[in-house]
Point group: C2
Chain length 299, copies 2
């Protein structure tokens, strides 16, 4: 089975398609890269490129993307709702197939060091690639954003970068480089107008509220649908599977006399997460993705 | 998306590995063929080879397999439990990706005509490839088997082959060539010793008993497990999805006070069938295999 690392860089440009296309072209100019998706978000003025390759390829693709972003994006002119600190803002590497998390940590460290050295951009390592426990959480790393970091990187020892200069790049800022599991964005819509209930369920099930591990959750109002939503990110579906999340939210909703109307998977989901659902639903004793016909064909 | 036809020839040799290997080698000598699986069954003295390719490739692979089987297997010496009428006994083509059932019917007709012409083996077209309604069902086609067909092909007009001579090949017999949907072999084990209940549920849910369309089902005793089993073949999961079968058997079991212990998927299952389960379990409004990360990578 070929080795596959996924890389999901977030760039601080979501309105100018020409710029985003040039960055994507720079990434795919590296040998062995396949771009799976490019999503531009004008409100957040931010783009997410999803690409895959082997360990060697993704390092080269990520470096070329960082280089293009530094040339094409001027963060001093950037405005958008999403917190950010760099032209290339976040650069996570994700193990998909035939590689371990340790491999992705190594890739993150290599790429971070190379960007710092050649592009003079400070690098903060986060999640599994973090060298300091206070940098595991991306929100901590990004606190203060570009504008705040310009000062604090020089004055605050907790902002000392893992690689590169102790000053932000004048136009490209700083970059958070990490290694993490695939994310699953999963929402459950409840047939109810009770926003407080959705928020309450979210709080109860999420990790920070003492609920399930590796789960972020928020409650939202869906005015158009006349429903409320528990919106979730599963940050490690191998520890907290999606079937368990669904059942847990279902239990909490039922306890409040609320019906689960529908689920929504936003974006991509790993095949193994689908296999887990199959195993759970059909009460299978043993089932692996190796039993899926197309997997035999493709792999 | 590349076009993929699956071909699942059944050969009347399940004990001599050298013979089966030679046949598999002959198949894979055709350009563009990928062999997914070779299973030998000594009891039935029968082997099943599963391979894929585009329309052109599978025609050539199937022909070479038929040729090798005719050279290597002597049906006059064959003994085994499974009904059979040819050295290459059954040759179904299955649409997997980027091809329609009509494409597979065309492939079946082409291959059947070529085998008949060059190898002098009579061909019976079955299921979606059938030209006569009484040949849709493979069991009808195979009735009488090799020994019976030697006589009836000459004397019985209902046994007139669709292609080829009106006499069986002296050692290779005759071949049923067809086009069909992917099969899913799915069992549900019930925590009960009540074999009559399992048989009753099977009878109620199967197509022949007026139950769900495209579903075959039998009840069995699982002495080793101390359970009974409803053993099923789903012959078109796009009409009768596996989730529906599971729920239906669950309802019937519950009505008899019996608990569903576990499900078993035997062999391979198409990705879309797994997506259906995911959609059903998580109450998704819309979900397609295009959202599966690995599919984006592989296709």
């Amino acid at each position: 089975m070929a080795e596959v690392v996924e890389c999901v860089p977030n760039f601080s440009e979501g309105r100018n398609k020409e710029v985003v296309d040039k960055i994507a072209d720079a990434i795919s100019s590296a040998p062995g890269i396949k771009i799976l998706d490019v999503e531009m978000d004008p409100d957040h003025n931010r783009s997410v490129v999803t690409f895959v390759g082997n360990k060697q390829s993704v390092q080269e693709g990520a470096f070329r993307g960082a280089q293009a972003a530094a040339e094409l994006i001027d963060l001093t002119k950037h405005q958008g709702e999403h917190p950010r600190m760099g032209a290339l803002d976040v650069l996570p590497f994700v193990p998909i197939q035939g590689v371990t998390m340790d491999d992705c940590v190594e890739v993150a460290h290599n790429v971070g060091a190379r960007i710092a050295k050649h592009l003079k951009i400070p690098i903060y390592l986060y999640e599994s690639a973090a060298k300091r426990s206070d940098r595991k959480n991306l929100e901590n790393v990004r606190k203060g954003q570009f504008e705040g970091l310009r000062e604090s990187i020089r004055t605050d020892d907790s902002k000392y970068p893992d690689f590169g200069p102790r000053e932000v790049h004048p136009t490209a800022g700083a970059i958070a480089v990490g290694a993490r599991m695939p994310l699953i964005a999963f929402n459950i819509n409840l047939r109810s107008h009770d926003l407080a209930a959705a928020k309450d369920i979210a709080k109860k099930i999420r990790t920070s509220g003492g609920g399930l591990p590796h789960l972020k959750a928020l409650g939202f109002d869906l005015k158009d649908k006349g429903m409320v939503q528990v919106s979730m990110n599963l940050t490690d579906y191998t520890v907290t599977p999606i079937s368990k999340v669904f059942e847990e939210v279902g239990r909490e909703a039922e306890a409040r006399g609320i019906e689960v109307a529908e689920g929504e998977i936003i974006g991509l989901i790993p095949l193994d997460a689908i296999c887990d659902i199959t195993t759970r639903f059909l009460k299978l004793e043993q089932f692996t993705s190796g039993q899926i016909l197309e997997r035999r064909i493709w792999c």
